[in-house]
């Protein structure tokens, strides 16, 4: 059995630490040094660290699942999921449905998560067939597939027969609003669940627990037969094929789980953010998720839950800390520019790494 071969090759702790050190690379070192510099300047400027830490925790939990969505996609050998907007729009459709059906609180949230997961899995399944036909160009095709879906959905948001007054324009105008507030619906239901203050730091317990649940689930999945087969297909498709695994089938499974996680991820994101943004808003969301997992140490062919957790935490910390620091030191909006440079810089770095090979498949 192929599974047994892999288990016997499991690296020791020392090898893993060495591997981690080798994979860390220059780009990550720069980003890490930058974060430390930011934290030091935040201390020097006497910024309210409790507030900063609270918002790091919230943003960590709120973006976490979107980053987790990259793992099945990378593991199954299709590279980071640049077509994440597909799953994201599914999640947004689920939330709008829950509002249309007049649901609120936890029932609304779980309804949204359920419908999002179903829709995401269905579209991810279909998208998997496309991925199998475009082996080697998944990243480029995925990027433009995501863009096309977002622009196609613009027409949907515009024509969809929603009736809820919270979502359509109050008078005149047609189609859904650009931004829909969730405060009376599913807004903050997870954030406020069992939340407590700890030395002035607000801990969004529900949100973190929900994220931890998904991390554990994905970790357990990677230990199952299917999970191991999935990563075998990704790391060595020739070997996988010769040991009797159906490569295309596992790539479809990877895509299905990835898009379902993306759909659930945006529901969690939206409940914490307090709004959903329609139309062109999901266009660039995939890039930040991709950047996060790459910062955490993943490559285009290798990723684990740990990479996602570390990456999300580092990336969100930089975003949260850089904003007040930049406000005081330089100018108002530089944090946004830094975010663009860092996220795309790390993706470029990953793309030019030699060990990922010239071809993804």
């Amino acid at each position: 059995m192929p599974e047994e071969c892999l288990i016997s090759q499991k690296p020791t702790l020392k090898e893993r630490i060495l591997d981690f050190y080798r994979d860390f690379g220059v780009a990550r070192l720069i980003i890490f040094a930058f974060l430390i510099f930011l934290l030091a300047s935040a201390f020097a400027l006497k910024l309210p660290m409790e507030q900063i830490l609270s918002s790091v925790l919230t943003r960590f939990g709120m973006n976490g699942i979107l980053v987790l969505a990259m793992i099945p996609s990378i593991q199954s050998g299709t590279g980071p999921n640049f077509a994440l907007p597909l799953g994201i729009t599914c999640g947004i459709v689920a939330i709008t449905l829950s509002i249309e059906l007049n649901m609120a609180g936890f029932s609304g949230f779980f309804f949204s998560v359920g419908v999002a997961a179903l829709l995401g899995a269905a579209t991810g399944f279909l998208y998997g067939f496309l991925l199998n036909r475009v082996k080697g160009q998944e990243l480029t095709v995925g990027t433009y597939f995501g863009f096309s879906i977002v622009s196609l959905m613009c027409i949907f948001w515009f024509l969809a027969p929603y009736k809820s007054p919270e979502m359509i324009w109050p008078y005149g105008g047609s189609g859904l609003r650009v931004t829909i507030a969730l405060q009376d619906r599913i807004g903050k239901v997870l954030d406020n669940f069992l939340a407590f203050d700890f030395f002035g730091v607000t801990v969004p317990t529900g949100l973190l627990l929900f994220f931890a649940l998904f991390c554990t689930g994905l970790w357990l999945f990677s230990r199952t037969r299917t999970g191991i087969a999935l990563s075998t297909v990704g790391t060595n498709p020739k070997f996988a094929e010769s040991s009797g695994l159906n490569v295309n089938r596992y790539r479809i499974i990877g895509s299905t789980i990835s898009q379902a996680l993306g759909a659930v991820g945006i529901v969690v994101y939206a409940q914490s953010f307090g709004f959903i943004q329609l139309y062109m808003a999901p266009l660039f969301m995939a890039f930040f998720a991709v950047a996060s997992i790459l910062i955490g140490g993943a490559s285009l062919k290798k990723s684990t839950v740990t990479h996602a957790v570390i990456g999300t935490f580092l990336f969100q910390s930089i975003l949260v800390v850089s904003m007040p620091v930049a406000n005081i030191v330089v100018a108002d909006n530089i944090a946004d520019v830094i975010r663009i440079i860092i996220s795309n810089g790390i993706i470029l770095y990953a793309l030019t790494r030699k060990e990922t090979g010239g071809d993804l498949s």
Binding site: L152, F158, I340, I341, N344
Partner: protein, 379 residues
């Protein structure tokens, strides 16, 4: 698709199966090969009909847009033939053009001199950007397109950093109206009224069509520059360098064995492309008369790529006529779709969303088709 006809075995079977219907086969082949431009031609005609625009207005708009956009689209041809796919990195060329304008606007230059100096500043900048892009692409062979897309975003970040936080601060700016009220950072729009129509107005021909009030205006010099470019690109591929581009595009390994310095040729192809895109952006902006500082360059890559694909080009094959036809069809769609959407469904936004979807969708489908064919060829 067109590989089928080149493949001798395939040609033989065609002839053996139906010797009497070879004309029909050729006709079908022609249709299949040109299906994308034909579909868009029909879309454009339908859109033009429902938009209710008058013919001279439409023709004027098309001439203006052809004159100002074709240059950038043609800049994509060299990297395609050199086997590097669609060069999304031309965004950097556009940025070089805008840096050029910031410099000339800073020295308050006007007219043709201003335009000329802008080009002079743009070209060396674009050469440097192209060289760096080429180096990067050589590091990520086989993934040039996604690298180009991400590079565009990354460079946009650097561009914003320089224009928003360095200018007026580290880089002195002479004209205070170009800066934000804080004195640091360039405003959202840069006024280049002095260079508006700098080359369009050098020589304009007005054609009066009987029965219509508005004449058709033809910017002769801009179109002449475009024609010169087309001829130059055509002859480039007849030179030794051009043949080396082609050889590299067909097979990197064989080209390497044949003594071509592949990496160098690839960098040269990208430099060509970036410089042309830079000049193209300068021509584009002199027609507009002002620069949307943080927006004019962002979509340059996407629009140019969509245009050349609509013209019938693919990731591995492109001609000048495809680039020109594509620009014509894409920009006609640009003009008519909001009005057609408004007249058909009652809202201009529908047409606009439809056009955006077409832009991204065409690129997505073309890339998917290419990857699909490449996969079948590998079998």
């Amino acid at each position: 698709m067109s590989d089928d006809i080149r493949n001798p075995d395939r040609k033989m079977t065609l002839q053996m199966v139906a010797p009497e219907s070879r004309h029909e086969q050729a006709y079908k082949y022609y249709l299949r090969k040109n299906v994308v431009p034909l579909v868009f031609l029909i879309l454009c005609i339908l859109g033009g009909y429902y938009s209710g625009l008058s013919l001279p207005f439409l023709i004027n708009e098309i001439i203006t847009r052809m004159a100002r956009n074709s240059f950038i689209v043609i800049s994509l041809i060299v990297p395609i033939l050199a086997g590097m796919g669609l060069n999304f990195g031309i965004v950097l060329g556009a940025m070089a053009g805008q840096f050029g304008y910031v410099a000339t606007a800073n020295f308050q230059m006007t007219g043709f001199t201003g335009f000329f100096v802008t080009v002079l500043i743009t070209v060396p900048l674009a050469i440097i950007f192209g060289w760096l892009t080429g180096k990067l692409f050589n590091q990520s062979k086989g993934k040039e397109m996604i690298t180009g897309i991400i590079l565009g975003f990354f460079a946009n970040g650097i561009y914003q950093l320089i224009l928003l936080y360095f200018m007026g601060n580290i880089i002195p700016i002479r004209v205070p109206t170009m800066l934000l009220s804080t004195g640091i950072g360039i405003r959202n729009t840069i006024d280049i009224k002095g260079m508006h129509y700098a080359i369009d107005n050098l020589w304009k021909i007005r054609l009066q069509i009987p029965g219509f009030i508005f004449p058709i205006i033809i910017p002769v010099v801009t179109l002449a520059a475009l024609a010169a470019l087309c001829i130059a690109v055509h002859f480039l591929f007849k030179t030794k360098l051009g043949q080396e581009f082609r050889a590299t595009g067909q097979n990197r390994q064989i080209a390497e064995v044949a003594g071509i310095k592949v990496d160098r040729i690839r960098i040269l192809a990208i430099i060509f492309s970036t410089v042309l895109a830079g000049i193209g952006q300068v021509i584009f902006l002199q027609n507009l008369g002002n620069i949307n500082t943080y927006g004019s360059h962002v979509q340059v890559g996407t629009f140019a790529v969509a245009a050349i694909l609509i013209g019938g080009a693919s990731v591995t094959k492109a001609t000048i006529s495809q680039a020109l036809l594509g620009t014509l069809l894409f920009h006609t769609l640009f003009i008519v779709s909001p009005l057609a959407g408004k007249n058909l469904i009652g809202d201009a936004m529908i047409g606009e969303y439809f056009r955006v979807f077409i832009t991204y969708g065409v690129i997505g489908v073309a890339l998917a088709l290419h990857a699909w064919q490449a996969k079948q060829k590998r079998r």
